[in-house]
């Protein structure tokens, strides 16, 4: 029984990772760069419902970035940002509104600074942080929160 639960946890994480990477690649032109709206970031809301989303989202981000234009460096830094955001979401899971603050902040700061200092985007660090933060805000609050409300009603059907 213990093994079944353990296998299920990792398989759930893997499937969440596939969903994240698949959605990012599907919406590729707007998923990368300074002016990015990574719709798949709305999936961070899944960390409200299952801890399996924490490694799952980080893995999904790792593959999405690895298969995207940024390569290995982007994959490592991006997945670290997503991991921190998802951990924060899980900790604040009691309130849907507050739960999505950590991914917005973690991504805006880490990815914004990465774009500025690693990819040398010729905008100020604050501008990079605000651009990424805005895209993240649209993904998390435009889609993530409404999605979370639907999932709260239907988590039994979905198997969360």
């Amino acid at each position: 029984m213990k093994n079944t639960i353990k296998s299920q946890y990792w398989v759930h994480a893997a499937v969440i990772g596939s969903l994240y990477a698949g959605l990012t690649l599907l919406l590729a032109p707007i998923s990368y760069g300074v002016m990015q709206v990574r719709v798949s970031e709305a999936l961070t809301v899944l960390a409200v419902f299952t801890p399996a989303a924490i490694p799952g989202l980080a893995t999904g981000c790792f593959f999405a970035n690895l298969l995207g234009p940024g390569g290995f460096g982007d994959a490592v830094i991006g997945s670290a940002a997503t991991l921190i955001g998802a951990l924060g979401t899980y900790r604040l899971r009691n309130s849907l509104g507050r739960a999505l603050v950590p991914p917005v902040v973690a991504n805006a700061l880490i990815i914004g600074l990465m774009l500025r200092y690693v990819y040398s985007v010729p905008l100020s660090a604050i501008a990079c942080i605000l651009w990424v933060g805005l895209g993240e805000l649209i993904a998390c609050y435009g889609l993530g929160v409404p999605l979370g409300r639907v999932l709260q009603k239907r988590k039994g059907d979905i198997g969360l």
């Binding site: 990792w10 893997a14 390569g71 010729p122 435009g142 409404p146 979905i158």
Partner: protein, 268 residues
């Protein structure tokens, strides 16, 4: 973008020496190369990095066309950054176009940034061009295995990554089917402002989650039926071992990194 247009992974099959290297060597090499690009503080350092990378690309026999393809998505970023650096940086003017002047410092800064960006993209995309994603995952598992001491489940993480990779195409197919079914029922994924369009994806995501978690439940049950017990005592059909080729690669890497550090220290 149409789902059929998506290519997963960019592995370029081959039997070159670079392809045959242990994935751990390639991952560590990529890390060292990326770090080295941030140690460089003058063009001489970039010249060394370019020669090193050029030699590795030549040894890998990956056509240059393939490497250049990786630059296409960031072409806008390169052009935008170059123009902004050229015209915004203040300093000794070289020539003037209307109210904008190009300065010596601007040319230096723009060239420095573009060279670093191109080397960064080439260097990190080479890893995925010469390593299959599954091999890469195995390499990550082995590199993370010492972390088992601090209870990091490296085997489970690698297994999760392998399953995640395996299911990306399956879930993309599923997304395509659901998208068509919902469009036929009147769902609109393409009109309205960004918030409205984002919210419009809910009729796609909810059935997708139902389907994905059903797949996950079936897979977990199948693993259980085959007595899966995690990484403890598990053996591999294809073992991983460092060879003489890897030793040579580490030696070349050490010489390269030493040269980069030397150039940096000399100019400090």
């Amino acid at each position: 973008m149409a789902i059929k247009d998506i290519t997963l992974g960019q592995y370029f099959p081959g039997e070159s020496a670079v392809h045959r290297l242990d994935p751990r060597t390639k991952i560590l090499g990529t890390f060292v190369f990326i770090i080295s690009l941030f140690i460089v503080n003058r063009f001489a350092g970039f010249a060394i990095a370019a020669v090193f990378l050029g030699a590795v690309i030549a040894a890998s026999r990956v056509p240059l066309k393939f490497m250049l393809k990786g630059l296409r998505p960031i072409l806008f970023l390169i052009v935008f950054s170059t123009l902004l650096n050229l015209f915004v940086t203040t300093g000794t003017p070289i020539f003037q176009i209307g109210p904008l002047s190009v300065t010596e410092e601007g040319v230096y800064r723009a060239s420095f940034m573009v060279i670093r960006l191109i080397l960064l993209i080439f260097g990190s995309s080479l890893l995925t061009l010469v390593t299959k994603p599954i091999t890469l995952t195995d390499g990550i598992e082995r590199l993370l295995s010492p972390m088992n001491i601090v209870k990091l489940p490296s085997h489970e993480l690698a297994m999760m990554m392998t399953i995640a990779l395996r299911f990306i195409p399956t879930l993309l197919d599923e997304t395509d089917k659901i998208m068509k079914a919902q469009t036929a029922r009147g769902a609109d994924f393409e009109s309205g402002n960004l918030f409205r369009r984002a919210k419009g994806l809910i009729p796609l995501l909810v059935p997708l989650f139902v389907s994905a978690f059903r797949i996950a439940a079936d897979l977990a049950m199948a693993m259980e039926a085959r007595c899966y017990r995690g990484g403890k005592g598990r053996t591999r059909m294809n073992g991983m071992a460092f060879t003489g080729l890897d030793a040579l690669a580490f030696l070349v890497l050490a010489v390269y990194f030493g040269s980069i550090v030397y150039v940096r220290l000399v100019t400090a």
